[in-house]
């Protein structure tokens, strides 16, 4: 699907927000993603997955049009090219894809743990819960204060936020998982997105405390729709012999995820 770039701005060093003129169904789940074709040609070759940060709406003439905002970090060739794209340019996107966060039923406290660009799936969620009377808390960790993209957006929503930075520039010094240890209580549900090491530790803490935990995983993807079987992640409790229910020891991050129940993941093989 070809959609127009509405804006593409650097919000922090290496972090960008891109607006796309693209109306998505309102049923979109926090944690779903799109597959972005970064080049018209074949270099780089594969599409790149990006979470949907939020939906936006713009006016064009008398019309009100729907849009999508993504928030991305420049880490390599593909994101580097994305950063150079300009307003008005058309880009090829597929989505929304995958299964988002859904384990929190409104009871107790929802703790969202984000590491750096792992903040992305949480905006839609925080927005959806902002005017409900659920208890929602964002624990946001970064290397430094410039590694906390979108922070202002959450402040504007009125989300309760606790921050940690590796260098102590903002919030407490240390890992965001240290915050989690303090904040987690027996009625918590934990959602997490961020680097692998962080997710592992979050899952460990949640297991230790016996609270539900859901994580959004990052795997290299080719198709994004469960066809290539490339983005496999090993899951527990599945026999190596498939049954008629078609169980396999692997699930696909693109189709069965990217959000999984932390208990399901075989963490040592991730």
């Amino acid at each position: 699907m070809l959609v127009e770039i509405l804006y593409n701005e650097e919000i922090l060093l290496h972090y960008y927000k891109m607006g796309l003129l693209w109306s998505l169904p309102s049923t979109i789940e926090a944690g779903q993603f799109l597959m972005f074709r970064v080049s018209d040609g074949i270099d780089p070759f594969l599409r790149r997955p990006f979470g949907i940060y939020r939906t936006i709406s713009i006016e064009r003439g008398s019309k009100k049009l729907g849009g999508v905002e993504i928030l991305y970090k420049v880490v390599g060739k593909g994101t580097g090219l994305m950063a150079g794209l300009r307003q008005g340019h058309k880009v090829d996107v597929l989505g929304p894809l995958g299964v988002g966060f859904s384990g929190f039923d409104g009871d107790g406290k929802l703790i969202m743990v984000a590491g750096g660009v792992g903040i992305v799936p949480f905006y839609l969620l925080a927005e959806g819960l902002a005017n409900k009377d659920s208890r929602v808390q964002l624990l946001f960790g970064g290397r430094c204060k410039d590694d906390l993209p979108g922070l202002l957006d959450f402040e504007n929503l009125g989300t309760e936020i606790k921050i940690s930075t590796d260098n102590g520039e903002l919030g407490v010094r240390g890992a965001v998982t240290e915050l989690l240890k303090k904040e987690v209580s027996d009625d918590s549900t934990v959602y997490a997105c961020g680097p692998k090491g962080m997710l592992k530790e979050v899952a460990r803490i949640a297991r230790e405390r016996g609270v539900p935990c859901f994580v959004s995983l990052d795997k290299i993807m080719a198709c994004g729709m469960g066809a290539c079987l490339g983005c496999a992640v090993k899951v527990n409790g599945r026999k190596s012999r498939y049954t008629a229910q078609n169980l396999s020891p692997y699930k696909m991050v693109c189709k069965d995820g990217p959000v999984f129940d932390a208990e399901e993941i075989v963490w040592k093989e991730l």
């Binding site: 074709r37 074949i42 270099d43 780089p44 070759f45 594969l46 599409r47 090829d92 597929l94 795997k219 290299i220 993807m221 080719a222 198709c223 994004g224 729709m225 469960g226 066809a227 290539c228 079987l229 490339g230 983005c231 496999a232 992640v233 090993k234 190596s240 012999r241 498939y242 008629a244 078609n246 396999s248 020891p249 692997y250 189709k255 093989e269």
Partner: protein
């Protein structure tokens, strides 16, 4: 057969491949199009000449440990490890969806012994809604020290010949490109009783993570696909076209109608689109209409007359 609309004659796109009548030569390649259902939201499956499903074995297979894919220049490496639901689940749960479409369903299958190949072929032969079989011989043979069937003419002959006796379905043998002399293998498949040949499967390759000095794929080695391999696939189609009289199906790096036409001119009766589906899920339909445009522009009435028309 030729429909004529107001002076503009629609070219005849039908091809007959290995006894399978396809409404057009554009198919999707095994392992890159799931069981069809994954792509249903993105294109009208009825427009495809054929759908070749992910390789099926007797028993379900787990596949390899991740990471299973890595991007390369103009391509990718995969070591999916032939993960699949097994023939039973395929027939019960996947085939019914595909039967709804008026598109040839070709079932890609494999085994790690001649017996397993025969068993799967035998089961599939008794099932409705399958137009033909594509036998993947790029598979290690446990009776021969895990050597791939498709790398030796004698093993290729043996497995083709054995499977031939087990099924009346059109039998297409899919060749491995990782060989010194593709024609000899092709000839062995022909002698073994194949009705057609698909070429090529992926080329074996590797990538290294220089940060942790480990292979990018857990399996170390994977199969290279995408535009990177197109010149090799095209060369093999042309070489084999000169050596066997079987219909050939070209596959390897096809991204555009132009690519598809190159294969047809070099000797392919039909083509398959693999990795390109990942970049654009509706690419196969675009390739199809591009082929049609080419025929119209060049006043080719029947695609048949383009097949193997290379002037050397």
């Amino acid at each position: 057969m030729h429909k004529v609309n107001n002076n503009i004659s629609q070219p005849d796109l039908t091809v007959n491949v290995a006894g399978i009548k396809l409404k057009n030569p554009v198919m999707t390649a095994s392992g890159t199009f799931g069981y069809g259902e994954e792509y249903e939201p993105y294109l009208d499956l009825n427009r495809l000449g054929g759908i070749i499903v992910k390789g099926i074995s007797m028993e379900p297979r787990e596949g390899n440990s991740p990471p299973r894919i890595v991007e390369t220049a103009a391509g990718m490496l995969n070591s999916i490890g032939l993960q699949n639901v097994g023939v039973e689940v395929f027939v019960d749960q996947k085939l019914p969806f595909l039967r709804k479409y008026d598109t040839a369903v070709i079932v890609n299958f494999f085994g790690d012994s001649i017996e397993e190949y025969c068993e799967v072929a035998n089961i599939l032969g008794a099932v409705d809604g399958i137009a033909g079989l594509e036998m993947n011989i790029s598979c290690p043979n446990k009776q021969e020290g895990w050597l791939e069937f498709g790398t030796r003419p004698d093993l290729t002959f043996k497995v083709t010949n054995a499977v031939r006796k087990k099924t009346d379905l059109p039998l297409i043998v899919k060749l491995s490109p990782n060989v010194t002399d593709i024609s000899t293998i092709a000839k062995a498949a022909e002698d073994g009783g194949a009705d057609g040949l698909s070429l090529i499967n992926t080329i074996t390759g590797m990538a290294v993570n220089i940060e942790n000095r480990r292979p990018m794929l857990a399996n170390i080695i994977g199969g290279l696909s995408g535009p990177a391999i197109k010149p090799v696939a095209l060369r093999m189609v042309w070489q084999v076209a000169g050596k066997v009289s079987l219909p050939l199906i070209g596959v390897g790096g096809i991204m555009t109608a132009e690519d598809a036409i190159e294969f047809i001119i070099a000797g392919a009766s039909a083509i398959q689109i693999g990795t390109a589906n990942f970049l654009d899920p509706s690419v196969s339909i675009k390739v199809l209409s591009g082929v049609e445009d080419y025929l119209i522009k060049n006043r080719v009435k029947r695609i048949d007359s383009l097949i193997g028309s290379l002037e050397t």
